[in-house]
């Protein structure tokens, strides 16, 4: 097995599939890249126990190379050493020669000759197959946006696995993405994308994290398929398959207040920078900031009694409702506001002990975004 490939183009593609690779003591072979050569097409694979990412690239071939045996083959190459080498190599063609008998890899370039011991590809886990799958397509950018706006709100509590992923609620009239860690919740509905069959899947955090880095940020189509155990996402270059989280997503609709009568409209950037400053003076463990809303001003304050720290700011806003004092965790709130778009946001409130709903004032396209944050309460 023999091929020639541009060093930078190989590196770029390996980085697409390599993000998912981590130290793996259970299956050490998952620390390798799987190289599969078929004619002029080289397929690169990286994965972990749950996820597998494949990318295809075209390779050059010397005209003299006509040996069929050299044009196909599979081999596992340790990822860390290969990436490190390619990162230190200036752009140039690199020759890979694989000895199928002892799984050794010989790399030669203008700079020299290198050798890596590989492993037999047969030991690499098989890719799951999309049996009994439901499929639909959506523009790549839509999925990227949905991941960006929801992923941060997922839980890291492994005791409640259903909340460690993003819930895709699929229907013919739209797709809703929901993430929550029980303190906050993000719900993003798009009615310009759809799935022919109603359904719901929970996609784990890690593959989504990878996905948003590797799918193109344009309108090019992605094909999405899922069955009872796996999700498959692909375009003409990349294919990701991952195991779904089993279990029931919490009943999120029931906890979104239907009617929060008090509305506060405020400039998003101003609020974020104010929160950043005031929260410096907040108690580090609670990050508590208090919103004291009086008329069309909101007084934002924080204090840390242990150190006698105190911060206060006043922002103007548009407010319709009763004067109210409500406290939030500034860290969670800043993160939420950063994951929103638009100049102004609307905060919908009802009581200091009830969820606050945050929405962008201007609707962007066919997107309906709602973020919800539970307040902090000082017990009595």
């Amino acid at each position: 097995m023999h091929f020639i490939v541009s060093s930078t183009s190989l590196l770029k593609n390996l980085q697409l599939v390599g993000g998912i690779i981590s130290a793996n003591v259970v299956l050490p072979i998952l620390e390798d890249f799987l190289f599969e050569l078929d004619g002029n097409t080289l397929t690169l694979t990286g994965g972990d126990m749950e996820t597998m990412i494949k990318v295809q690239m075209e390779i050059q071939r010397e005209l003299t190379d006509t040996d069929d045996n050299a044009r196909t083959g599979r081999i596992c190459i340790p990822s860390k050493i290969l990436l490190e080498y390619l990162k230190n190599l200036p752009e140039q063609p690199v020759h890979f020669t694989i000895n199928k008998d002892d799984s050794s890899i010989e790399i030669s370039s203008n700079t020299g000759k290198y050798k890596i011991g590989g492993e037999k590809a047969d030991e690499y886990p098989k890719e799951p197959q999309p049996n009994d799958a439901t499929s639909f397509t959506l523009p790549s950018l839509r999925l990227g946006e949905a991941i960006n706006k929801s992923l941060f709100a997922t839980s890291t509590d492994t005791l409640r696995p259903a909340m460690t992923g993003v819930y895709f609620e699929l229907a013919q009239d739209g797709i809703t993405f929901v993430a929550t860690d029980a303190h906050r919740l993000v719900k993003l509905t798009r009615n310009d994308i759809s799935c022919p069959e109603e359904g719901g899947i929970i996609v784990p955090r890690k593959p989504l994290q990878q996905l948003k880095n590797i799918i193109p940020s344009d309108e090019s189509p992605l094909e999405v398929s899922y069955n009872s155990s796996h999700l498959f996402i692909q375009n003409n270059k990349i294919r990701l398959s991952c195991r779904l989280i089993e279990g029931k997503f919490p009943p999120y609709k029931a906890v979104i207040p239907a009617d929060n009568p008090f509305n506060l409209t405020i400039n998003r950037a101003d609020l974020i920078s104010s929160l950043r400053r005031v929260s410096i003076f907040a108690n580090k463990s609670t990050s508590q900031v208090v919103f004291d809303i009086v008329g069309n001003t909101v007084n934002i304050s924080a204090q840390d009694i242990d150190f006698s720290y105190e911060g206060k700011e006043q922002l103007s806003c548009q407010y319709t409702g009763d004067d109210m004092k409500i406290a939030f965790n500034a860290k969670l709130l800043i993160e939420m506001l950063n994951n929103m778009e638009g100049e102004e946001i609307r905060l919908e409130l009802s009581m200091p002990s009830r969820a606050g709903i945050f929405r962008p004032v201007e609707k962007t396209g066919n997107e309906d975004l709602l973020m919800l944050l539970m307040p902090l309460m000082v017990g009595v």
């Binding site: 906890v255 508590q288 002990s353 902090l376 309460m377």
Partner: protein
Amino acid sequence: MDQSQHTLRKIIHIDMDAFYASVEQRDHPEYRGRPIVVGGAPDRRGVVATASYEARKFGIRSAMSSRKAQQLCPEVLFVVPRFDVYKTVSRQIRDIFHRYTDVIEPLSLDEAFLDVTSDKQGIGSALEIAGLIRKAIREELQLTASAGVSVNKFVAKIASDMNKPDGLTFIGPSRVVAFMEQLPVEKFFGVGRVTAEKMKRMGLFTGADLKRLSEEELIRHFGKSGGFYYRMVRGIDNRPVQPHREIKSVASEDTFERDLDQPEDLDRELEKIAGRVVQRLQRYELKGRTITLKVKFGDFKQLTRNQSYPQPVSDYDTILDAARTLLQRLDLEGRKIRLLGISLSHFEAPGSGPEKPGATQQLTLF
């Protein structure tokens, strides 16, 4: 009084010897035989929670500032308290108590009253039970405790202190009256330095001297406490051992030798009082949300001012700052101050989860 003879109680007061320090010396052999202080480090305005007996030889005492302790004994070793460990040991001690009685009133992690009038095992002798408890604590926990055995809480508590450390003192019913008569007045519960001096000026040095005064006279001179002294000195203390007594506030106050009006004098007193409050809070493992300042003027008029916090506090700086601020806000109008006191209330136990009242709680959806 005749009736109380019929219902003679058997009360044991158990007091662990230099508890925190002893636990540290038990768990860290390298600390043994050395002067150690459990508490805050001297560079952080800490307070001594417990000093080992080796450190006490240098004059180091509980509630003293750690800096002072270091001045008294430069080689003293400061050990960061491990309250979770003390708590565990305290529970083990309490388990030992429960072998003999369920009527236990813990005063703090290292101190408790036991009523063994009718003990679980039918041993009958309070003295023997106290001995068994001390033996169990020594053998099972490798720690020493001092015990006082008597007919009421007051005498039992004084008794436990008489042969410390590792002592057992028994003041039987026939000796209670004589014991109280010889007791120096400053040992009486509630008699501080100022009251003791006042008593001495009046020629009252011991319980016997107090006993010569009528209840009315005592009340006239010492206020409400007078009635308490009157009963105590006659060996009457019917306060029951209360298993579920809840601490509602922790306070410390000081009456000054002469009335004060200079801010720097008042500030120095506040520092001392705050140190003692913090030390007691640590003993009881409490954090409180309300700080109250008590001020008594030269004309005996008294007022209190308080400040509450959303989160419970227990640290020296916060408590002292709050007390200072409350004092500064008062318009003294040139009046002299006779007494200052600081107390903390609205407690929340440290380490308790956000579900406990008083803590900031992140509300959840599911």
